[in-house]
């Protein structure tokens, strides 16, 4: 603090931050890919009610949703290598970025598992029975009937999760990763124009979120075209209306970003 506000710095910092979007997005998409895999693995035992694994999935989801992401980052980065050392696996050479992606991946995996569960349960049982009744196998019923609809239903959940993860990546600097927030902090250590730096940072995050949201809205409209009422009869925006009806509010999948 201490230096008077100077709008020129906002512009300058904004430009300097742009190259670091890459790192933040890398973390986001890396962890979303990990998270989808983990989420599916965690969701399946609960969807199919597998006895012991089902409990494990529950504990997993509770832990990663119930503890701050900052602590999860530290545990993965500092505790995991110690544990692996016990079974003589040396991970000291592994770049910190991998740990960060792993941590966010495991974290978002917990939310993905809930999302997958909600989306699959939102496709009504009757359609699966109709699929069996026309002679489909379980696999055909899942891939042809349940999955395409579940995917469409989960688009808004996915959008929320990706934007939340983007915001969460602002904590990766605590492990020394030079992503957007980390860079913003180094920018003002010299010039002491802290406010300008954070303002520029906010603008970058906002623009990113804005475009991600637009992208997902588009995808949602495409994938949910079958729920569109005939245009002139009904003016309620498509998709959402149907979603409100099918998604149980108890499993609302809102996630607000860094819970530190």
């Amino acid at each position: 603090m201490g230096t008077p506000f100077d709008i020129a710095y906002v512009y300058e910092y904004f430009l300097k931050l742009l190259p670091f979007i890459r790192i933040s997005l890398l973390i986001v998409f890396g962890s979303i890919v990990v998270g989808m895999g983990v989420g599916l693995l965690v969701a399946l035992p609960r969807l199919y009610k597998v006895p012991v694994l089902q409990r494990f999935s529950q504990v997993y989801a509770s832990f990663f949703r119930g503890t701050p992401i900052l602590i999860q980052l530290f545990l993965i980065y500092y505790l995991l290598p110690e544990l692996l050392k016990l079974v003589s696996i040396d991970v000291t050479k592994v770049p910190v970025l991998i740990f960060v992606i792993l941590a966010y991946g495991l974290h978002s995996g917990a939310y993905f598992s809930e999302g997958i569960r909600a989306a699959v349960s939102a496709v009504d049982r009757g359609q699966v029975e109709a699929a069996y009744a026309v002679g489909m196998t379980g696999y055909q019923a899942f891939t042809r009937i349940v999955f395409p609809q579940a995917l469409a239903i989960s688009i808004p959940i996915l959008a929320n999760l990706i934007i939340a993860t983007l915001k969460d990546t602002s904590l990766a600097f605590t492990l020394g990763v030079m992503e957007l927030t980390g860079k913003a902090q180094t920018l003002f250590t010299v010039s002491r124009h802290m406010l300008e730096s954070y303002l520029a940072l906010a603008i970058v995050y906002f623009i990113l979120s804005f475009f991600l949201e637009k992208m997902f809205n588009f995808a949602e409209r495409r994938l949910l075209k079958h729920e569109a009422p005939i245009a002139k009869e009904d003016k309620v925006p498509m998709g959402r209306k149907w979603l409100n009806r099918t998604l149980d509010p108890d499993i609302a999948l809102s996630k607000g970003g860094a819970g530190v």
Partner: protein, 250 residues
């Protein structure tokens, strides 16, 4: 010829079907009536294995399945021999009317797409939906959705079509169009089992009427016998209640 032999079904300790024996001749239309909770839906669901019967046997012509320990491929074959029209239509919501009808033909019966399309269009025209081929279920009325459901069942060319209260989820003014379609296909000699509360309809289209209560068949016979001169006291009571109820609702 379809034979059901000693079909039983329990949910936990609740025995819902207590040994059902029923014979359905080819081309026959069988109406099943009875109070709610008597096991009518469960019986239909057992016939195409949406519900696993506890015991019993079904045979359709030469083919037969013992429900005690059925083979997986027999179950699959059984499902392909029957088709179901559901109370809640259960159309595939992400597919158009045409795609709903084609789905089973293409995915299960592996019929080439063009041929499947041609057959599906014909069937949709037959149920009066030739102008709704590309509509999604969300864009159709209940009566239209149910007619797509009927076309979907017909397309599979099954040995028997099972109807579970096909009109009971419909607004009264839409019931007629669906019953009209069922009446039309009944005349074509397709074997059908229809669970219904539309007594006048049952009397009119069925060749054989089955009255169920408490998980057993109480009485069965030709419609004019069951509706006019039933033998069993329980059948009389049920029908009396029914006619008086509908008399009030007019």
């Amino acid at each position: 010829m379809i034979h059901l032999k000693r079909i039983t079904k329990s949910f936990g300790r609740n025995e819902v079907l207590k040994g059902i024996d029923l014979t359905i001749r080819k081309g026959e239309v069988v109406a099943i009536v009875g109070p709610s909770g008597s096991g009518k839906t469960t019986l239909l669901r057992c016939i195409n294995y949406l519900e696993k019967p506890s015991d019993g046997e079904i045979s359709i012509d030469e083919f037969s399945v013992h429900f005690k320990k059925p083979h997986k491929k027999d179950i699959h074959a059984l499902r392909q021999k029957s088709a179901m029209v559901f109370q809640q239509y259960n159309l595939f919501r992400h597919k158009t009317a045409l795609e709903n009808v084609m789905e089973g033909l293409v995915v299960v019966q592996k019929i080439p797409k063009e041929e499947a399309r041609k057959r599906s269009v014909e069937l949709l025209e037959k149920v009066g939906l030739g102008d709704k081929l590309d509509s999604y279920p969300s864009q159709l009325s209940g009566g239209q959705q149910q007619r797509v459901g009927i076309a979907r069942a017909l397309a599979l060319n099954p040995e028997v079509i099972l109807f579970d209260e096909p009109t009971s989820a419909l607004d009264p003014e839409l019931v007629g169009e669906v019953l009209g379609v069922i009446r039309k296909i009944a005349k074509e000699g397709i074997t059908m089992i229809i669970v219904t509360h539309e007594m006048a309809f049952a009397q009119d289209v069925a060749n054989h009427v089955v009255f169920m209560e408490g998980g057993v068949i109480v009485e069965e016979g030709p419609p004019n016998v069951i509706f006019n001169v039933p033998k069993e006291e329980r059948t009389k009571q049920f029908l009396a209640r029914y006619t008086s109820e509908s008399a009030y609702s007019i």
